[in-house]
């Protein structure tokens, strides 16, 4: 693990401008991105109207018939793009939170963001009888309100790490009992439609979902370009972080908010797809040993996880389609158990 030889300095505008890039990280991100793209192409060709990957690529390039264009680009592309985007957002969110808290067990699922989104969406389903865009708005509102509550409660006294985890777990517990309450009170039909949403699903995604996740990712990348470098000192513990930033209270809320909003928007677009945010950074760390998960490969890992899980969800019990969250849950839960078993003392970074 030769950190110095792995580092590449980019000088896009003379010596005064320098961006540090890890060569291995670039290679890994590209490889994971290629894999995710390949799975997406495979997935785009599958369905009642089957296409070979080569044909799918031809259609994507603009060379298909009108029907092919309609099926691939209009019907199926939003699902794939939403899947890739949501996966990247969860991966980023998990990596940021795990690094700030220096704890591999932290993720938006654990600290209640997903529960908040679920509660909001469930309110829309059961109380207002809404669906479609209303559901997205409900999930979004729920997630953002939860996120705001977590940020305010966790940062009120200027501490990061553990406080964030503890406050989040408390909020998650409260919200899941509220979710149970709504489900018990709901009608049978509503419960069925809620169950699919609560697991996290990429079925019937459209321009709305693509827009939500694309705008969120673009904004997050911009924020991370400026503030992401602070993660390198925030993960050294509160005291060193405060000393090297002149007061970590300044930069930590920006990054926590970014992470939480990423998860909130992703959940609004695809439901609370479990475990991706938790697992993606851990997979990244093992693929790229020698330090905490880097953000770009974590995002690529998340994208690959979600798009692959969605493909599996569609194929495993075809023609019946599983919600993607069912697959990530089955794959992710053992990883969580493994991490819990490894974290033999509080604060062990896995």
């Amino acid at each position: 693990m030769t950190a110095r030889r792995d580092t590449l300095l980019l000088h896009p505008a003379g010596r005064g401008v320098a961006f540090r890039v890890s060569k291995r990280s670039v290679v890994l991100t590209a490889a994971l991105g290629l894999c995710a793209g390949a799975v997406a192409v495979l997935s785009l060709g599958l369905g009642e109207f089957d296409l070979r990957p080569a044909d799918t690529l031809r259609v994507l390039g603009g060379g298909g018939t009108l029907i092919e264009y309609d099926v691939v680009v209009r019907d199926r592309l939003p699902r794939a793009v939403t899947g890739l985007g949501v996966g990247a957002a969860f991966g980023l969110s998990g990596a940021i939170l795990q690094r700030i808290a220096a704890n591999p067990l932290v993720s938006p699922d654990v600290i209640g963001v997903n529960a908040g989104a679920s509660f909001g969406a469930l309110l829309v389903i059961t109380v207002f009888g809404g669906a479609g865009a209303a559901l997205v708005l409900g999930g979004l509102a729920g997630a953002l309100l939860t996120a705001a509550a977590i940020v305010v409660l966790a940062l009120g006294h200027g501490h990061g790490g553990y406080r964030l985890v503890l406050v989040g777990i408390g909020i998650a517990a409260m919200l899941s009992s509220a979710i149970s309450f709504l489900l018990v009170r709901a009608e049978y039909r509503q419960v069925l439609s809620a169950a699919s949403w609560l697991t996290g699903s990429l079925a019937n995604r459209g321009a709305l979902h693509v827009t939500i996740i694309a705008v969120t990712l673009a904004a997050a990348v911009a924020v991370l370009l400026v503030f992401g470098r602070h993660l390198r000192v925030l993960e050294l513990g509160d005291d060193v972080a405060s000393t090297l930033t002149g007061g970590a209270g300044r930069v930590r809320p920006v990054l926590i908010t970014t992470a939480v909003v990423l998860a909130a928007m992703a959940t609004a677009a695809a439901g609370p797809i479990g475990f991706v945010a938790l697992v993606a950074p851990q997979i990244t760390r093992r693929l790229l040993p020698g330090g905490p998960a880097r953000l770009a490969p974590a995002a690529a890992t998340g994208a690959l996880l979600v798009i692959a899980a969605d493909l599996a969800a569609r194929l495993l019990f075809a023609p019946t389609e599983l919600p993607v969250g069912a697959v990530t849950g089955v794959l992710g839960a053992p990883v969580l158990l493994y991490l819990l078993a490894r974290a033999n003392r509080i604060g062990h970074t896995g």
Partner: protein
């Protein structure tokens, strides 16, 4: 303590002081109305019993706590109003339990000390490279550059954190019990290193120490804290007097001169009824 004819950097000796400083957690004041001036360019040790407020005082000096009353002045300026980046470039801190991410290498960790000198569009400069190299050289860890920090011994790890603080190149270096968890040989090793660095670079250094004899040997100036106040202050020989030690630590003792260095040594007096020695 050998003088280096060609010091790598020469930070001018900067004065750090507190005036009427009161610090506390919740309802409790832990440090009360403390006024102290740290001699520029020297090593100052803060000593005191457990819970006396010595670490809190150090945290206040590092702006890790907001004063209830009073102020901390760096070179005459109140640090409360200093820009974050400025303060981060001028004050370094080695906390009691810093956190090294799993698998991180020595050079990566030390390099993070350069954070305050970097910008979002400038992750590295030639000055960063030079500062990192000279910090690793000065702490004798250059050969460990590519090793993972988790695989080092406690003594080596403490040198790595010290190198991080050196790479930061602050005017004043604050160290919170840098020798805890180290065996005696490594304690001496680290303190010799600090004394040597101080002699060469003349950087104002403040450290919290538990061991009075080590504090007496390595510090130029002692600040004895009891119950959140300063009980005594001055050269080790002035502060380490039997009556001061009795009032600060509740320990009856004799003080003799170290036959090797001439610095004071505190010998706790066995209780009068002790028969173990016979």
């Amino acid at each position: 303590m050998t003088a280096d004819p060609n010091p790598t950097t020469t930070p001018s000796a900067i004065e750090l002081s507190a005036t009427g400083l009161t610090l506390g957690y919740h309802a409790r004041s832990v440090v009360r109305d403390v006024s102290v001036t740290v001699p520029p360019g020297r090593i100052t040790a803060i000593v005191g019993a457990n819970g006396s407020g010595k670490s809190t005082l150090l945290r206040g000096l590092a702006r890790l706590m907001t004063p209830r009353r009073g102020a901390v002045l760096l070179d005459g300026r109140d640090i409360a109003g200093m820009a974050a980046k400025t303060l981060a470039q001028r004050l370094g801190l080695l906390p009691q339990q810093p956190l090294a991410p799993d698998g991180i290498t020595v050079s990566d960790l030390v390099g993070r000390g350069r954070h305050p000198h970097q910008r979002w569009f400038r992750h590295h400069s030639d000055a960063d490279g030079a500062a990192i190299a000279s910090a690793m050289e000065a702490t004798g860890i250059a050969h460990l550059a590519d090793e993972p920090v988790d695989e080092l011994s406690g003594g080596q790890r403490q040198r790595v954190w010290l190198a991080l603080a050196l790479a930061q190149d602050p005017d004043v270096m604050l160290l919170d019990e840098p020798t805890t968890h180290l065996d005696l040989a490594h304690q001496i090793d680290l303190l010799e290193l600090l004394a040597d660095l101080n002699a060469r670079l003349g950087r104002t250094t403040v450290l919290v120490l538990h061991d009075l004899n080590l504090a007496g040997r390595y510090a130029h100036h002692l600040v004895a804290v009891t119950d959140g106040r300063i009980a005594a202050e001055g050269a080790p020989a002035e502060v380490l007097q039997p009556d001061t030690v009795a009032s600060v630590f509740g320990l009856t003792c004799e003080v003799i001169d170290d036959p090797l260095t001439g610095t004071p040594i505190v010998l706790p007096r066995p209780p009068a009824d002790s028969r173990r020695s016979t």
